[in-house]
Amino acid sequence: MHAGLSLQQSPPFSVPARFLVSAPLFGLLAALVMLWHGPEMLSNRWTSELLAVTHFLTLGFLAMSMLGAMMQLMPVLMGMMIPRPVFFSGIIHAALFLGSASLGMAWLLHINALFMIAMASLLFSFSMFIMMAAERLLRTPSRHATRTLMLLALLSLAITAGLGLYLAMSYSDAAFPLARQLTSLHLSWGLLGWVGLLIMAVAYQVIPMFQITNPYPLMLQRWLGWLIFFALITLSLIQIWPLAILKTISHLLLAICLLIFALTTFWLLHTRRRQLPDLTLNFWRLAMVSLALTALIGLSLSVSGMKPPALLLGVLIIHGFAMTTVNGMMYKIMPFLIWLHLSSRNKTLRDNDQRASQIKVPHMRKIIPEAAGLWQFRAHLASLILLLLTALWPQWFFYPATVLFVIAQALLLFNLSSAVRFYRAKLAELASG
């Protein structure tokens, strides 16, 4: 007996796939830029090379994959229909690709005009996406915490992009004052608001779903995201009323919330009902260890009043927490998409009485071989450890860390591209009858 499965609200394969495959291209680009420029680029947090690499990762890798994942998850998890998905995803993706590449290149090549291109492209891409996604989320009947958190994440993205545009203006126009004091705020809204809240929103659904765990406690689902958002608002108000105590409280609140999320996730994964090995589980665990470490360092800094080790925290939260989570999720999303679209094609053939033309749809776990994913995870883990050591002793660990980072991103690109090639081959098989 065949399962008659239709796509329902799920958008065409190309909609999320173009974003997911583009992400490791930027990861690879960032790693190659590091390899080219050497450890001198880490001499301080304001070098053009470091700014370029950071934005290749946060825009090109993270925002790229998160927008793609949202395009797929919003319809599947919340039953929303995305209007004209191929058209909208095409222009949003093209503008984000161009914006991310030109922003990094503007810093690397010191060409002011590229900042203008980047600002225009990113403004277009993000505003299109935010308007489309927010409108759909506000209309959906779902009242799950995921919906609220996605809306807060979108609002955080709008604030991050607004601050980023303001900061970029000073690079494109020498007459514009450089407001470096806003950089920390831009980072906080981007990494804790946009990235952090979105990962929480998705984790509340996909961890119980794919890892067969108990659901997150309802109280936590309802309030944790709001507390993070509130702490970020307070941090922003400090720019107007610089009260030291308010800053300390906001930092403490953020660190405690992140620690609670990391420990709860870790506990849920530890007590999962089916104790089977799973590739994505490794990524989730690593991401939560990184998040807990970030929170613990944040807590100790808030209490002691010491200066934050910017590079170490940056590596922990961007590579250790955010990229690890997204990387792991890709190994669930991509095979699921391929399985879903091939199963749906089979259903169409059965409905049209063409049963003989059906193709064999492999198990999800076979679409990207477990061993290939595991090797990529090992390279990713090793690159994280060495990058953390690089933050402390750059002259010793920079090159080994960067080489492993290149390998990890190249393997991810290879694994995702192989999955797409596999899908295309199956489609060709169908077309040839």
């Binding site: 065949h2 499965l5 239709s6 609200q9 799920s10 119980p208 779903m209 067969i212 699921f336 399985w339």
Partner: protein, 90 residues
């Protein structure tokens, strides 16, 4: 219960709960209904059941968090049995 087909998908990873439920629904005989046990509200199931002319009813489970009763649209006998089960206080 003679007309009941019990399917527990509460410890399965997606997409197995979806595919197994649709397969089990497709094999329902007249008078039979499917009682699906799940740990959460199912994803993508109801749209597929609508398309394939099945009726369904989701309620809070006693064994698992969620129970879904599924029967064929034209099957009045199965519909009546499901209604009596759902109406009976636990």
């Amino acid at each position: 219960m003679p007309g009941e087909i019990l399917l527990d998908v509460s410890e399965l990873e997606p997409p197995e709960p979806l595919t197994l439920t649709l397969e089990a629904a497709a094999s329902l005989q007249p008078g039979q209904y499917l009682r699906m046990l799940h740990r959460r509200e199912p994803c993508m199931l109801y749209g597929n059941l609508d398309e394939q002319h099945f009726k369904y009813l989701q309620c809070k489970g006693t064994v698992s968090a969620v129970e879904v009763f599924i029967w064929r649209e034209q099957d009045q006998k199965a519909a009546a049995v499901v209604q009596s089960i759902v109406d009976t206080p636990i």
